[in-house]
């Protein structure tokens, strides 16, 4: 009797072992396929950027380059050194930096403040304020182009980096506020009460008590805002042109304005350069991104 039960257990055990093994290998197979699929464009970009035009014409997309040839990268970054019509990324890269740093800083800071007020200094109608802010997250970019252009014109900062800083700051506030509000909701209000009894005021509580524990959400916000603003093309191309354009607009101009032959190697190098800063931000702060998005209460 017991033997019979045991042998049936044994059979089931074997069966589930084989099933699990099959599923595991199938999972790896699918993952590898997807990994190849996602890495393929990057591979083509990197490989093409390292080839000469000659090699590009003769080989296929996948052909390995003959050597490490960074000429097209230098051209993409610094140009060929002749006057008119020579578009290269360097000045626009700095335009983008000058735009992204203040815009990220201001939108993050204002979002943190707003989140702090909406959770720890509740006032009548604060729910409505938050609702309207949320509404801001859902307004499509295209809808505000005209009014924003007019506003920038009135303020006298159209076609300038400052104008773009303002646009991105304003457009970022709904998102940053949402992030910070949701984070501060999980921090016990008793902290604020204790600090009030200890005699700390509005700003002191913010800077001394809440901000020091906000690292995860600050990182999340910075990554989000940096990616959004750095990669933005629509605002950049609408509100700026020529010298004040950010890098994504310049990249577009560069690729479209080539006169005779399409220089695929330079185009690819330019595209990679334009994407590198966001990659760096992700690599440096990526682990905080997941942690910050999923983190609950920060316990004292």
């Amino acid at each position: 009797m017991q033997d019979k039960i045991h042998s049936s257990y044994k059979q089931l055990e074997q069966k589930s072992k084989y099933t699990n093994m099959f599923l595991r290998w199938f999972l790896y197979f699918v993952l590898v396929i997807f990994a190849l699929y996602f890495i393929f464009p990057l591979y083509v970009m990197v490989v093409t950027s390292l080839k000469t035009m000659e090699e590009i014409r003769q080989g296929t997309l996948l052909t390995w380059p003959s050597g490490l040839n960074f000429d097209s990268w230098l051209v993409a970054w610094g140009g060929r050194g002749y006057g008119a019509g020579d578009t290269f990324l360097k000045p626009y890269f700095w335009n983008s930096i000058k735009m992204v740093v203040p815009a990220v800083f201001f939108s993050t800071f204002i979002g943190a403040m707003a989140g702090y007020v909406l959770t720890k200094w509740r006032f009548k109608g604060d729910k409505w304020v938050f609702l309207f802010l949320l509404f801001g997250c859902f307004i499509p970019y295209q809808a505000i182009l005209l009014p924003m252009a007019r506003t920038l014109g009135v303020l006298g900062i159209s076609n300038s980096v400052i104008g773009l800083v303002l646009v991105h700051t304003v457009y970022g506030i709904p998102f940053t506020t949402l992030f910070f509000r949701n984070f501060y909701v999980s921090i016990p209000s008793e902290l604020v009460k204790a600090a009030r009894i200890d005699g700390a005021g509005f700003f002191k509580i913010f800077f001394k008590i809440l901000l020091p524990v906000s690292t995860p959400i600050i990182v999340v916000t910075i990554i989000w805002q940096f990616t959004q603003i750095w990669n933005d093309f629509l605002f950049g191309s609408t509100f700026s042109f020529g010298e004040a354009a950010p890098i994504q607009v310049a990249l577009n101009n560069m690729v479209l304005s080539s006169t005779s032959v399409k220089e695929y190697n330079v185009d690819m190098a330019s595209a990679i350069i334009a994407g590198i800063p966001t990659l760096i931000v992700y690599v440096l702060a990526g682990k905080y991104f997941i942690r910050g998005l999923t983190s609950g209460a920060v316990k004292g």
Binding site: K193, R196, I197, D198, K208, K299
Partner: protein
């Protein structure tokens, strides 16, 4: 001079009334416990005393000065919170002196206070640690220390022990009691735990639905509950409340439940008003611990009841009896053997009973 006086205080959040015409007074050095079920408004009352909530009506006086419009930091109070509310980014030292630094107290004085308090609470070895590196009990100590260094007139405690496990809770309870004995400061302490309230308080104010039901010494709260809510809330298991009528004939009062022939004589009872008692509908209240299995004194009332249920809890057992189809609980030592489904002879200690008007639910 009253250390704390609350006059006709009302508070509402929107259309919900949280506190209704609260009047309270505390003398110097007393330990007042605000006790009640969750949502009764006790924490709101504490926040109002601290100045963290606004008042709709009425006033709060500290040392006879109306502080209703005074900032929390200027009220000369300190508060200990349920979640400890230690500043997570600061170490223990910074946590404890934060308030003094805000108040611009001199460095020497701060150091002196910090040393005195941290020694007293035995946290001097933890000063450089962050709150996240402390155990629950240590956090609690630091939170109390942060309140102590300010040398406040009134200590406010908001359920300070409810985040601790059962064993630690009993330990910290004794520590708070010791602390109060040594420092003799005035304390207002919010809790929903009756054992905490009974053991700590010199006075207990029992609250329900934003109204103070009874404000009295622990002894009076236990022995002479002013209404059925208090009677039911205090004691574990709570007081038996038997529904029935009073009967008065030739100056002798007795209690009879509906349709029964058991008549309990009520002779020594201290009625508030001794008229119109005949036929009055009342609750007859007796605590489980005042029902005995053998005669305890002369006036004990003897009755035969059927045992229905027995709950064994180690040092004692809680028995449920059937009293004319109403449940009566009694607490006995666990060594006593009582057979279920059989009639047992019980003795009600009539010196310990309470009577409540069945309509108003007030003590009569």
């Amino acid at each position: 001079m009253k250390t704390l006086k609350i006059v006709e205080l009302s508070k509402n959040f929107g259309s919900t009334e949280v506190l209704r015409k609260i009047n309270l007074e505390i003398d110097e050095g007393n330990f007042l416990v605000l006790l009640g079920p969750s949502g009764c408004g006790k924490s709101t009352l504490l926040n109002i005393i601290a100045g963290l909530e606004t008042i709709n009506e009425g006033n709060v006086h500290i040392d006879d000065y109306n502080v209703s419009k005074v900032e929390p930091k200027d009220r000369n109070i300190a508060m200990v919170f349920q979640s400890y509310a230690l500043y997570p980014s600061m170490n223990v030292r910074e946590n404890m002196i934060f308030g003094l630094k805000q108040a611009k107290v001199s460095k020497e004085k701060i150091e002196e206070q910090l040393e005195k308090v941290s020694k007293f609470l035995q946290v001097n070895a933890l000063l450089e640690r962050k709150p996240s590196q402390l155990s629950g009990g240590q956090r609690q100590r630091v939170a109390i220390g942060r309140a102590l260094v300010r040398e406040p007139r009134i200590f406010l405690f908001d359920e300070p022990l409810s985040n601790l496990d059962a064993k630690l809770r009993v330990e910290m309870r004794r520590e708070i009691k010791k602390l109060h004995q040594q420092l003799k400061t005035t304390v207002v302490y919010v809790t929903h735990d009756q054992t905490e309230a009974m053991s700590l308080g010199t006075n207990i104010a029992i609250m329900n639905h934003g109204v103070i039901q009874q404000n009295d010494t622990p002894e009076n709260i236990y022995n002479k509950p002013s209404n059925t809510f208090v009677a039911d809330f205090i004691g574990s298991p709570s007081m038996n409340l038997l529904k029935g009528n009073l009967k008065e004939s030739s100056n002798k009062v007795s209690f009879i439940t509906h349709g029964s022939n058991i008549e309990i004589p009520i002779n020594g009872y201290d009625f508030k008003e001794k008229f119109n008692l005949d036929n009055k509908e009342v609750f007859f209240g007796i605590r489980p611990e005042h029902i005995f299995f053998k005669k305890s004194n002369e006036n004990d009332f003897e009755v035969n009841l059927r045992a229905d249920l027995s709950e064994y809890i180690g040092h004692e057992q809680i028995m449920t009896f059937n009293f004319e189809n109403q449940e009566v609980l009694a607490k006995f030592p666990s060594t006593v053997k009582i057979d279920l489904s059989k009639n047992t002879k019980l003795f009600f200690d009539l010196t310990q009973i309470s009577l409540f008007d069945a309509k108003t639910e007030e003590r009569i």
